[in-house]
């Protein structure tokens, strides 16, 4: 079997942890597998490097930040190779340039374009364990790019895809995907399986186990993903196209607090205005999520939408600069919001899910600000400080703690 294993920064935070992970990798190699390992930067390395740069310049260019941050993963892979050498395993570390990890040119949030496989294949044929830097790539200028936070998952899945690996294991500090965050909901249950689509919805809304781009990639290239703990040998959760067990109504409930609401007030009620607004945001790579447009009144309308919190400032600046062109009268925003969602492939054929969810919130006296639905997800925007309440209320309502099915 060819297995790609990805370990996050906390799994390799110090010498002891690096050696522990090395043992685990070695065990898999001993079982006769070809092993490719993808690593993030150790522990707080990335944050420390960001702090170092901030001390010098509060607005460093993204190009230079990528040059700086990419060193964190390079240190991790070298140290892991050194640990595997210690344990007597043949291994080699490779960075993005050595692998040929080609990305778009957008610094700090580049997207993978293609990955060369020659070097990796050659090293696997030499029976080396190949340890590759996550999170980073090389653009057409030969400059270093990074894939954004959580990008190491994407690196791992993309490698699994191009190498046609039998599976891609994502090691993390939890044992798998749960029906809800176990720190918030006491009787949250671990799922043994989940579909890509369900995982996508969960990943994009704050169940921060997998980076959503990595799940999209896994779905596109049919990579079997396994989310499991780096601390024990429990089986974890398998993410695949179709789950074998009978569909449950919903698989999980999650909250995303990393969200801010922006309302642009008094936009001229003419065709093209919404397009202007969202076209502008798209051009600046600002992802927007839930959108709500009020019905026109007095020849104007209000458009409300949500963005990730760390994009709030940039978005507000951009709106302010384009105020006239967009015919905006006023711009208001609220950071104290959270998005709470239920996700489940079984939802499609069960029209009562939304009603049940709203009832749970009503019973818990939680006001709903915005609603968004997809085939397998229903999200609501609520006050941030009600998020935990909401999750527990919904988890109870759907009796997710009592599931008997294996999944």
């Amino acid at each position: 079997m060819l297995i790609v294993k990805k370990f996050g920064g906390s799994s390799v935070a110090n010498a002891e942890k690096v050696l522990n992970v090395a043992k685990r990798i070695g065990k898999s190699y001993d079982e006769g597998n070809d092993v490719v390992v993808v690593l993030s930067a150790q522990g707080d390395t990335t944050d420390e490097l960001i702090a170092k740069a901030q001390e010098i310049n509060s607005k460093p260019s993204r190009r230079e930040m990528d040059m700086l941050l990419s060193t964190g993963e390079q240190q991790s892979v070298a140290l892991m190779a050194i640990a595997l050498e210690k344990l007597g395993y043949p291994s080699i570390s490779l960075n993005a340039y050595q692998v040929g990890m080609n990305t778009t040119s957008t610094y700090s949030k580049a997207r993978l374009k293609n990955i060369q496989t020659d070097r990796v294949q050659a090293e696997l044929e030499r029976k080396n364990i190949v340890i590759i830097t996550g999170f980073q790539g090389i653009n057409r200028f030969d400059d270093i790019t990074t894939l954004g936070r959580g990008g190491s998952d994407t690196t791992a899945v993309a490698l699994a895809a191009v190498l046609k690996a039998d599976r891609c294991e994502i090691y993390t500090d939890v044992e798998g995907i749960y029906t809800a965050d176990p720190r918030i909901v006491k009787d949250a249950k671990k799922l043994s399986e989940i579909t890509y689509d369900e995982m996508l919805e969960l990943a994009s809304l704050g169940a921060r186990v997998l980076h959503n781009r990595s799940v999209e990639l896994a779905k596109k290239y049919h990579v079997e993903l396994v989310v499991r703990s780096s601390l024990n040998y429990e089986e974890g959760t398998v993410v695949r196209e179709v789950c074998n067990m009978e569909k449950m109504l919903i698989s999980g409930v999650a909250a995303d607090k990393d969200v801010a609401r922006i309302s642009v007030i008094g936009v001229h009620d003419e065709p093209g205005k919404a397009f202007n607004l969202f076209g502008l945001l798209a051009k600046h790579k600002i992802n927007i999520d839930i959108i709500l447009q009020s019905v026109g009144r007095d020849g104007t309308k209000d458009i409300t939408f949500t963005v990730a919190k760390d994009m709030l400032e940039e978005t507000l600046d951009l709106l302010e600069e384009n105020r006239e062109r967009l015919t905006v009268k006023d711009i208001v925003h609220d950071e104290n919001v959270a998005k709470v969602s239920v996700v489940g492939a079984g939802m499609v054929s069960n029209p009562g899910v939304a009603a049940k969810m709203f009832e749970a919130l009503y019973d818990a006296h939680i006001n709903i600000q915005m609603i968004s639905t997809s085939e397998i997800k229903i999200s609501v925007l609520i006050d941030e400080d009600k998020a935990e309440n909401a999750i527990n209320a919904i988890h109870d309502k759907f009796q997710l703690g009592n599931i008997k099915l294996k999944r």
Copy 2:
């Protein structure tokens, strides 16, 4: 003017120092110069990374150590670009791969083979200040190599050579080259000029201002080197082919404590034995320095030589493994030795220098273990704890503290 400026790790050890150096670089750019900057890793970064690796594996492979250590310089150049951005200067950082800094394959002590100039030239034409990682290169496997300690000087001089720079400035924590280490000899004087050959001898024996390979390169490609302080604007010492001033008898005296003595005892007194021994060491890239061979006796001879301290263990292991083939009876070694040397281009025409040096040591009751001479240098091996005494005695004897000449 095109100027290459190299700053060592202590000059960029923290945010404040990085910004200070950035100001200095900016000043040179403002004066109309094209500026290329070569940086080492910040402060103790390299040592910290070595310690991290050692915690995991006391004998890490050199390939992985190079992968690990090269991140230090990459952090430095990114942070310097970020500092220059803060001050409003156009700049770009480049690592060894981006420049095309091609080296031999020997990890941890690679030698530069050639340097691509396209990218650097292009960035200079865009009026960017170009900041390049010192110390590191890329070998034919696309693997990262390092040039060994002090290799950043070599990077700077090599860049100055291929770019045909008007000068190469090496910034350090001293104001230039002195007649002796000012920390040891109170009345040591700064030289305004010194020849490449003199500098070479000083560099190779512990006057750790310039890496000797950098001086060799500068000599070969006629790069005018300037050694000056990063803390003030004093003029420093110019290193060039021929000095204008009347030659002094000797330019300086220096001690090298990073040396160990090894004696192989009872080698068969047959032709080829010394060749076998030194051929073996050369094959393993172990540089030997002073060699002393005893006159044969009872059909055997003793060969004594010195190596750098950090090569001692490897050399002893190698000798032990080849004991039979080399017909060695016994191997002894001593780490508590120092090499003290006087250097001066004027020495060639003055036969009395050696006698004067030995007299100084005799007067100071210092025993001479081994002697080695070249056209412009005389070195003696003595007890390590007598090194400071010896330097002072010699400095006094040659009245180096009283020189009136400008040099």
